[in-house]
């Protein structure tokens, strides 16, 4: 392993001398660079919204309105986040779901991918892939109505079944107890297939001869998985882990707002930071407040991302980013 690393460093050092080669490579990445420049770096000035008491004047440019016409507000834009007494609950929900999604979003797809590779029938494997990936392309608005089709009090399929077996209908949208599971199941159902494809690619990239020699040595399936597949998947897993942990304070708005249909009774289990910010600011159109909220999310996300990367670097330098 160590030798490989030094070899890689040498190659890049050599490459930087060769200008022609890098120029071509840079040109190839130009679309991505432009995209990042336009959509990630250029809008960075928007951070100022979070620290300004934004008072626009009509007919003047956004920049003038933001930098000259608006007075500084210090940290006062952040105070509305602290005003709400249920902020601890909201933060708990955000972290709770994200940690579960983070774990389930890696463990389940990895195992599915491992088993799928072992399937010898090509058609069946293709079918399984297609069926699991399909939900990823559905919008949460549609998913929300599909879920409603199952859970509606009067016309829902589940209540029909319950009534058929003689039990009482459940008012799902008024019973918060079930919703932690419903949300987790929905999210896993929707996202598993897509992450599975990433791991599937990583597994197919593993040298088959490793498995063959292991098989000759008498390694059984589980042993091959433990000693070959998982160790070689580690860099992919940690990359995905690092990328996901950066958005731990953000949540999929669609999942937490559209799927429970914004039902009041379910707030205690469905309200995450994004949902709260949306509900607090939807009517007011206060850009400074929303900028403050998303700035806070980004800062916490950034700290977690860098922190996770550092820890991973300690454990296994090869799997870390940068």
């Amino acid at each position: 392993m160590k030798r490989e690393v030094t070899k890689r460093v040498k190659i890049t050092a050599k490459g930087s001398k060769n200008r022609k080669e890098t120029r071509e490579l840079t040109l190839m990445s130009l679309p991505a660079i432009i995209w990042y420049g336009l959509f990630c770096y250029l809008p960075l000035f928007g951070i100022f919204f979070a620290f300004k008491h934004f008072t626009p004047r009509p007919g003047e440019s956004l920049f003038k309105n933001l930098f000259i016409n608006s007075p500084w507000a210090g940290l006062s834009n952040f105070s509305f986040l602290l005003r709400s007494s249920d902020m601890p609950g909201i933060i708990f929900n955000t972290l709770f779901y994200n940690i579960i999604f983070l774990a389930a979003g890696i463990v389940i797809p990895v195992f599915l991918a491992i088993f799928l590779v072992e399937l010898h029938g090509k058609h069946l494997s293709g079918l399984v892939q297609m069926v699991t990936v399909l939900p990823y392309f559905l919008s949460y608005v549609i998913v929300g109505y599909c879920v409603y089709g199952f859970l509606a009090t009067d016309e829902g399929q589940i209540n029909h079944l319950l009534k058929m077996f003689g039990s009482n209908a459940i008012q799902w949208y008024q019973s918060p107890g079930y919703w932690r599971f419903i949300l987790i199941i929905t999210e896993i159902w929707k996202s598993t297939g897509y992450s599975m494809v990433i791991f599937l690619c990583a597994i197919t990239a593993i040298d088959r001869t490793l498995y063959e020699s292991a098989m000759l040595d008498g390694a059984r399936f589980m042993e091959r998985v433990r000693h070959i597949t998982i160790p070689l998947l580690r860099p992919t897993i940690s990359t995905i882990f690092i990328l996901r942990i950066g958005s731990i304070l953000s949540s999929d708005f669609g999942l937490f707002y559209q799927v429970p249909l914004d039902s009041n009774s379910l707030q205690s289990v469905t309200q995450t930071l994004d949902v709260y910010v949306y509900k607090a600011l939807m009517q007011q159109a206060n850009f400074s407040y929303s900028a403050a909220a998303s700035f806070l999310q980004s800062v916490v996300g950034c700290i977690l991302l860098v922190g996770a990367n550092l820890i991973i670097k300690r454990i296994d330098e090869d799997s870390s980013l940068g």
Binding site: L30, L38, T55, K64, N65, F80, S85, A152, Q284, N286
Partner: protein, 488 residues
Amino acid sequence: MNKSLHITLIILITAVVLTGCGKDKSGDSEDITELRWVTYDTGNTHLDAREIIEAANEVSKEKIGVTVDLEFQSLEKINLMMASGEYYDMVFTSSWINPYDKNASLGLYYDITDLVKEETPILYDSIGKYWECAKVNGRVYAVPVLKDMGAEDMFRLNSDYFEKEKGMVIPERMEFSDIEPFLKAYKEDNPEKYPLAMDKSGLPGYINFLERVVDPIIVIPYDQGEDVQAIPFWECKELMDRYRLLHKWYQAGYIHPDAATIESTVADKSFPVRGGVAWKGYQGYSNPADWGFNVKTSIYDGPYLSRTSEQGSMIGICAACDRERATACLKYIELLSTDRRFRDILGYGVEGKHFEYLDNGTVYRLPAGTDRYLTRLYQTGSVVNASVETTDLNLPADPDQWKDVFEEYDNNGIYSKATGFAYDPGAKEDIITTLTAIYSDYAAELCTGTSDPDTVIPKIRERMEKAGINEVIIDINNQLDKWKKEQK
């Protein structure tokens, strides 16, 4: 990164910045002022808007030398436009969309207090006492659109069923609770169905009998006598009784069990009882072709006139306009408020294509009108000056309907005593934002009757008090006292 990359980046960024700044207005030709007028898009169809605006411009060009470029924009777009300082000449502003009080106190609109008296005296006189609702610190920043200024809340009932089949009598006025026997009768006949149409925003207008300072959390009731004070909504007994009644109806099965999560009930035409907000004599609810049965309305509230209700639709002029352009705006609004034939173009479309005049002077929409241009009158200026619409040819509307409506306001209207008062939230905005978020945790289930107000209200109260609602109420009442003193 190498040099060429740097250069490409710099070129790109400057290009973006330059295109952003390099907007310039095209010069006016032959002294004709073209105004950019942005109005609220209610979601109704306006496919033929281009053609209709052209037709209106032909007339206004000749009469006052002003044309408009009318745009229908969504709430989000208008908010963004106001916040980013985009240029416009006239904009839709109100108590419910693009908040007038907030924007006017921020100085986003042109101060027309004196200009409207000097340049357009006819317009000034026509608005009369309704200028009061546009006053912020004694100055006027927008023209109120004359429409149904008071809120009259009504039930819309299937009269074929209730009167012909059941032999019940639908009175012209009733109390809120009087609807119960109707609901009960229908439920007994159709135990599987729900008689009262209800979606997550509740019965339309059920809270109109209160003036809302912080909508709908801090309210000013109408019947307070001389000492007007703002109170939290839970202190209003009448409202609490309504919530209790709704909860009772919910439990009795008059309201759909999932009402609190239903987005809209418009598509389901079978409900025999619906709520509505309109005015006496309004026909828009009663077209049997729309519903498949005859509809009779019965008013249970109002007319209540308050700052909130009178600010239903207003036209604000951009603060960045110069005096000349602001005058052009006012002249255009004046033309809309005085010239009936001209007003009907933007309201109903092109005569002969989108609508036709009936013998009694009312307007009847033709198929092209209902399919391709079905906007609400208040979106495009004075409602009172537009011709009245007849929806059912067998039942022509009264062309002088508005005279009756305004007489009713003058004689029987219930007026808020704080119409000229605008609350400036200032440093309390973060509390209000929090209160709004807290309220939205309960709103849908409270107004649909899903939750029991006697268990939920104490929870709301506790959370709101923790968030600092009392600070806001004290602040409002201080400002209100100051305003009252200035009035004397």
